[in-house]
C-alpha cells in the first residue's frame, strides 16, 4: 500500500516487470486523487489502453484490501485486441451511442455483428449516477456480446465516483472496453441467497427514483415487513439479509432495498411494475463463491486471470463476520484483481452479487 500516487505507480510498474501490455486495468481507492492516479497510470504504460475506476475496497490474488491500488496487465498473449471509449454523460443516450460508435470505428465493425463467443466487454460506470440500468439495457439491445463490470465506489463517502481512461478521470461517466481474448473466457454471476417461496410484485413504482411505492397493492414497506413477519420499524435491519430477486427462470437478479421513505422502499436498483420478485434469504458467501469459482475454473480447464466485481454489501457482510481472509483465499491461486462496487453489471444492473470475468 503506497502512500503516494507516484510510489504506487512505480510499485505496480516494477511488479509488472518486462511485460509490454496492450491493456492495463486498475482499481484505486478514493484516497488517491482521481486526476493524478489516472494520469500516473497512463504515463507509466504509454503503449497500453489504461482503464480503471475508484473503489470502495480492493481485491488482489488472495487478499481483500482497503485504501489500495490493484492492477492487472494484459498483453497480446492474453488479449489480441482492445478498443476503449468513454461515455462522458451516462444520462445521455447520445453520449452512449457516441462511445459505442467510437469502439465500432476502432474495430471496424458494428457491435451487433460481433461474435459473442470471441469478444467480451468491460464496463466501469459511475456508481452514484443511478444510470446503470439504462446504459446496460441499451448495450444489451445493441449486441449479444456480454458486457460485464461494476459501478465505481468512493469508500462509502457517497460523494463522487470516477472512471479512468487513458490519463483522464471522469465522473457521471462510464468507460467501455471491448476485448478480444486469445483463449477461452468465462463469466460468473454469483449471489448468496435462496428464495423463501414468497413473491412480492411491485404494483406501483417510480422507476427513476428506484422506488417501490406498493407491493401486492399494499404500501411497500408494510408488505415487505409482513412477508418477513416483522414490524415496519424492524424491516430495515433485514434489508441486507433479505433482499428481493428478479426471477429469471432458474436464476434471479438481486435488487437490494436501501431505505424506507414514508411507506415506500427505495432500492439500489430499478424495478418495474409487475415483475415477480422473490423474497430472499442470505446464505454463505464464502462457500457459494468458492463453489462458483471452482466450477467455472473446472469448465474452462484452468484460469490465468480473474476480474472480480464484488458488491460492497457483500464486502461489508464479510467484514462484519470476519470472513475477509476466507473470501480472499478463494482467489489465492488465480491472478486476480477486483474491487468492492456500488453495483454490478451483467446483462443488467444488479446488487449484492459478484460478477467475474475469467480468462483461461
Amino acid at each position: 500500500m503506497a502512500s503516494s500516487v507516484e510510489q504506487a505507480v512505480d510499485d505496480i510498474k516494477g511488479q509488472f516487470g518486462e511485460i509490454s501490455p496492450n491493456l492495463v486495468l486498475f482499481f484505486a481507492s478514493s484516497r488517491y486523487d482521481p486526476a493524478l492516479i489516472s494520469r500516473g497510470m497512463h504515463d507509466a504504460f504509454p503503449g497500453a489502453q489504461v482503464i480503471g475506476c475508484s473503489t470502495a475496497g480492493e481485491i488482489a490474488s488472495g487478499r481483500v484490501l482497503k485504501d489500495a491500488i490493484v492492477a492487472m496487465a494484459f498483453d497480446e498473449r492474453t488479449v489480441s485486441g482492445v478498443a476503449c471509449s468513454v461515455v462522458t454523460d451516462v444520462t445521455s443516450p447520445d453520449s452512449l451511442m457516441g462511445a459505442v460508435r467510437e469502439i465500432e470505428e476502432k474495430i471496424g465493425a458494428p457491435l451487433r455483428d460481433l461474435d459473442f463467443r470471441k469478444y467480451v466487454g468491460l464496463i466501469l460506470i459511475d456508481g452514484l449516477s443511478g444510470a446503470e440500468e439504462h446504459v446496460m439495457d441499451r448495450l444489451g439491445d445493441l449486441t449479444n456480446v456480454v458486457f460485464i463490470g461494476g459501478s465505481a465506489g468512493d469508500d462509502l463517502k457517497f460523494q463522487s465516483t470516477y472512471v479512468y481512461l487513458n490519463g483522464e478521470a471522469y465522473t457521471n461517466a462510464a468507460v467501455l472496453a471491448l476485448l478480444k481474448p486469445v483463449g477461452e473466457f468465462g463469466i460468473i454471476k454469483t449471489q448468496s441467497f435462496r428464495p423463501l417461496g414468497i413473491t412480492l410484485v411491485p404494483t406501483k413504482v417510480n422507476e427513476e427514483r428506484r422506488e417501490v411505492i406498493e407491493f401486492n397493492n399494499m404500501p411497500a414497506a408494510v408488505a415487505y415487513a409482513r412477508a418477513l413477519g416483522v414490524s415496519v420499524e424492524e424491516a430495515p435491519k433485514r434489508f441486507m439479509h433479505n433482499p428481493v430477486g428478479l426471477v429469471t427462470g432458474d436464476d434471479f437478479f438481486v435488487r437490494s432495498p436501501r431505505k424506507i421513505e414514508g411507506e415506500s422502499i427505495l432500492f439500489y436498483c430499478m424495478v418495474k411494475e409487475g415483475m415477480d420478485l422473490a423474497l430472499l434469504e442470505s446464505t454463505d458467501i464464502v462457500a457459494d463463491t468458492r463453489k462458483a469459482v471452482e466450477e467455472k475454473v473446472r469448465q474452462l480447464g484452468g484460469a490465468s486471470a480473474l476480474i472480480n466485481f464484488h458488491c460492497i454489501l457483500r464486502a461489508l457482510e464479510l467484514e462484519e463476520i470476519g470472513h475477509n481472509e476466507a473470501y480472499g483465499s478463494i482467489f489465492a491461486d488465480i491472478p486476480t484483481i477486483g474491487f468492492s462496487t456500488y453495483g454490478e453489471e451483467y446483462i443488467g444492473h444488479i446488487n449484492q452479487t459478484s460478477t467475474m470475468l475469467l480468462f483461461k
Partner: protein, 66 residues
Amino acid sequence: MTGEIKRMIDLIIEKRLNGYEVLKNTTRTKLIIKGFNPDRWTSQSEDDPAKIAELKQIARDMGIEL
C-alpha cells in the same frame, strides 16, 4: 383478440438467437428485465395495445424487424 404479445416475444427471441441456442437465456433475461417475462404471456393473453407498442419499440431498439 389474443396472443399477439406472445407471438411478438417469441419472434424477438428467435430472431435474436440467430441460430445460437446458447443465447436463449440471455435474451429471455433481457426481456424480463425490460418487464416482459416470456413465461407470463400465452396465446390466450389479451392484445394490450400499450404492451404491443412497447414490444415494437424493443424490437426496433434491438434492430429486429417483426
